[in-house]
């Protein structure tokens, strides 16, 4: 009776693949249990089995020691299992309370008793320290608060075991801290939590035990206190993972990208980029560090020709490109790994193969006289899929069906293969697991070593510090400092990013 949830030797097959093979997961009452695995390792499948969305081919599930048959999510709800989905299932136009009671409204003669519902939601919210306004509209509240609404939804339905599916993927660092506090409160109140994640830092911080799965197979369960991030990473990936990316000294040559006094107005007419100057030379990686919303997006879009520059110049290979059409800029040597791969990087309803020629389809050998040559397109796609280790059943599979990491690898393959003189990598590792992150970083450094310029924009300080040769700090649409990653610290960067120039000035004074 020690375990609240036991999933024993679970096997789940899909046509052509075994998503879960002999996985055992045992969760103790009152613990935070991490489920760790790479993108596509089978974590979500296992949780969907527990939540009743899939039926396992083999294995059994026990809740509080009793064997159960979870045929659909309602059964799971009744057993006290609740799921906080990665992509929120909320009605934007409804209030918090309306969303929470949706499907189990307290009603009398067909009328919903809103007063009671609001009271109940408020009480739950206070009990677990969730700080949610029951009467606010979903569309008006932050992503972090929407997630808390999802948590309340499960609590309202009487969940004792909460599954969190990659809960921190969409949150800011501050919100992550709050979420961790909330999880701790939930445990104190007697709940148990399964945390699906591939972020090792979080596991080390909040979890008690961790079960690792790799390529659909259960690797085992370890106590977090007995392990370390390196061991977890190698358990997950199946080989040793290097966190510190190896690279030689940069050997920068001529300037590839030269931005001078750039001004860009945002949709409201306010200057989002306000007199920014920046240089990227061939053979170096320049990292841009900054808090989200300080003009990073506008800067990338202006370089790519998607946003109008009000004044100033952008030169690519010594030729001015500001306000040219995106295609002209692409053809003059720009590669771009966009921030939002679903929105800007891929046509999800195209086969992955057709996505591989999204910028080159009109050129030989992919087309001739306006007629596409599918043979050449798919041949190219096949090569890229192999070279960049994109895991997809075939090159004809829709891009939508691939996991996030593999979609990202496909984009990187496409962009790097065009051999651009300047590669913009915006948040290139968002949502990727350590193995894929390592892969992406290696490719960026490879491009640099081949004498290309790389502009890296990331909100992860680790990444900027680790990969860049120079770091440019952006604050309120300007580059406020350029620092050497070997001589700076996270603290110093943090201060610069927050607009403080004190440390730098002091340093300058002491040098004089």
């Amino acid at each position: 009776m020690e375990y609240v949830i036991e999933m024993l030797n679970i096997r789940k097959e899909f046509p052509g693949i075994v998503a879960n093979d002999n996985i055992t997961l045992q969760v103790k009452k009152g613990e935070i249990h991490a489920l760790l695995g790479e993108n596509g390792a089978g974590k979500s499948t296992l949780m969907n089995v527990l939540f009743g969305l899939y039926q396992p081919e083999r294995g059994e599930i026990r809740v509080n020691g009793k064997k159960v048959n979870i045929t659909d999510p309602n059964v799971a709800n009744n057993l006290g299992i609740g799921m906080v989905h990665q992509h929120f299932m909320l009605v934007d136009k409804f209030s918090v309370t309306e969303n929470i009671i949706l499907g189990s409204e307290p009603s009398k003669a067909g009328r919903i008793n809103m007063r009671d519902a609001i009271k109940q939601v408020r009480q739950l919210s206070e009990q677990y320290g969730l700080r949610v306004d029951p009467e606010a509209k979903i569309s008006d509240i932050s992503v972090g608060m929407q997630q808390r609404v999802e948590i309340l939804k499960t609590l309202y339905r009487g969940a004792d075991i909460l599954i969190f599916d990659e809960p921190t993927a969409v949150l800011t660092p501050q919100e992550i801290k709050e979420l961790i506090e909330i999880m701790k409160t939930l445990i104190k109140e007697g709940k148990s939590i399964i945390l699906i994640t591939h972020k090792l830092k979080e596991i080390m911080e909040v979890c008690d035990r961790v079960t690792v799965i790799r390529k659909g197979v259960g690797i085992g369960t370890v106590n977090v206190s007995d392990t370390n991030p390196n061991e977890l990473a190698s358990l997950m990936v199946g080989r040793d993972v290097v966190f510190k990316t190896d690279k030689t000294e940069a050997n920068p040559a001529a300037s590839v990208l030269d931005i001078k006094d750039l001004v860009i107005k945002d949709t409201r007419g306010v200057a989002a980029i306000n007199g920014l100057s920046l240089e990227v030379r061939a053979g170096e990686i320049v990292g841009i560090a900054g808090v989200d919303g300080n003009g990073q997006t506008e800067l990338i879009e202006a370089i790519a020709g998607l946003k109008k520059a009000e004044s100033g110049t952008i030169s690519l290979n010594q030729k001015e490109i500001q306000n040219l059409k995106p295609r002209r800029i692409t053809e003059s040597g720009l590669g771009h790994i966009p921030q939002d791969r679903h929105k800007h990087g891929l046509v999800l309803d195209f086969p992955i193969g057709e996505n591989m020629v999204l910028q080159t389809y009109y050129k030989k050998p992919y087309s001739k006289n306006g007629i596409l040559n599918y043979k050449n397109i798919y041949q190219k796609a096949k090569t890229l899929i192999k070279d960049y280790d994109v895991r997809t059943p075939t090159e004809y599979t829709l891009a939508r069906a691939l996991s996030g990491g593999n979609q990202q690898k496909a984009i990187i393959g496409r962009e790097v293969d065009r051999d651009p003189d300047l590669l913009i990598a915006a948040q290139p590792t968002r949502g990727l697991d350590v193995g894929a992150i390592e892969f992406v970083h290696k490719r960026l450094i490879e491009q640099r070593d081949r004498g290309k310029g790389v502009l890296l924009i990331s909100f992860e300080l680790d990444e900027v510090l680790n990969v860049s040769d120079r770091i440019a700090v952006i604050y309120e649409g300007k580059i406020v400092a350029i620092v050497d990653p070997k001589q700076t610290t996270e603290q110093e960067l943090g201060l610069l990013m927050a607009g403080s120039t004190v440390t730098r000035k002091e340093g300058e004074h002491s040098n004089v």
Binding site: F14, S44, N48, L53, A304, L306, K325, P326, R327, T330, E331, H336, P338, K343, H344, G345, L346, V347, L348, D349, F350, E354, L358, Q359, Y361, Y362, S367, G370, I371, L372, A401
Partner: protein, 348 residues
Amino acid sequence: MSKRLINILVPVVSVLLGLIAGTIIMLVSGYNPIEGFSALFYGMFGEVFYTGETIRQVTPYILSGLAVAFAFRTGLFNIGVEGQVLVGWLASVWVGLAFDLPKVIHLPLAIIAAAAAGALWGFIPGFLKARFRVHEVIVSIMMNYIALHVTNNIIRTVLSKNSDRTPDVPKSALLKSPFLEAHTDFSRLHWGFLIALAGAFLMWFILEKTVKGYELRSVGFNHHASEYAGMNVNRNIILSMVISGAFAGVAGSMEGLGTFGYASIKGGFTGIGFDGIAVALLGGNTSVGIILSAILFGGLKVGALNMPLETGIPTELVDIIIALIIFFIASSYIIRWAITRFNKKGVK
């Protein structure tokens, strides 16, 4: 379930449901459903005359279906096919009347004029969408009314002296064929069905085989990514509406140069354009699907004429039965949507 199986199963089930609903209606109103339906099917294909009439009716349906589907495949909803049909009809007749040319030039010219008129009518909502983000549904609906009354006025004042129809188009611009008529017991079958089939091939070819088609589909699925990749999204929106309108315009010429050989004042819409929406959706917006669903729509429309004659079922009831069959077929789009939604969830 495989995708192909679903694609076949869904329309078959929905047609069956429609027939069952029709049966119930006939039983309730005291008519023999077996007699009723056999009259319906006899009226579609029972005699060569009916077959000829059915094919004639199918011809504009294929083209208007293609018009809707082409826009749909590129992410646009062209509700203005009806108006584009009307201007195409008028343009083809106008060119037919205005020139005296040998047939090899005159007939193609009249059809091209129809395509151009439809394209212009499609260009306007396309341009407004691309330039000012005005929704194409609103503009194209309004363009239907403009088309209806403008064409009526031109017929009354320019192409005739206050009459309610134009003179007959000379033979050199007609699709009519004495040969086809003679072999179908003097139905109004004309050569237009070849043009419709060529149109279906053309749509498939443009969308699937050409660079432009790749761009159009890409913009339809995700215009953000297309813009990032350097495609000109606005130009593609306009182009899509123009090509869509051209298909619709040619559909109009099928009536103007084939079925009727003239243009007449209309009290209301022809229905070819609106039915085209259903034809396209039922056909899954693919060329082959559209041909099949156009046959069904055209067949029902022609076959229904025979029901009151043979069985005494009143025309109003026939209309309800036909509407029910189409209703269930139209809901197949919902069924298909539901099935694919369900399947997608299952795969995740």
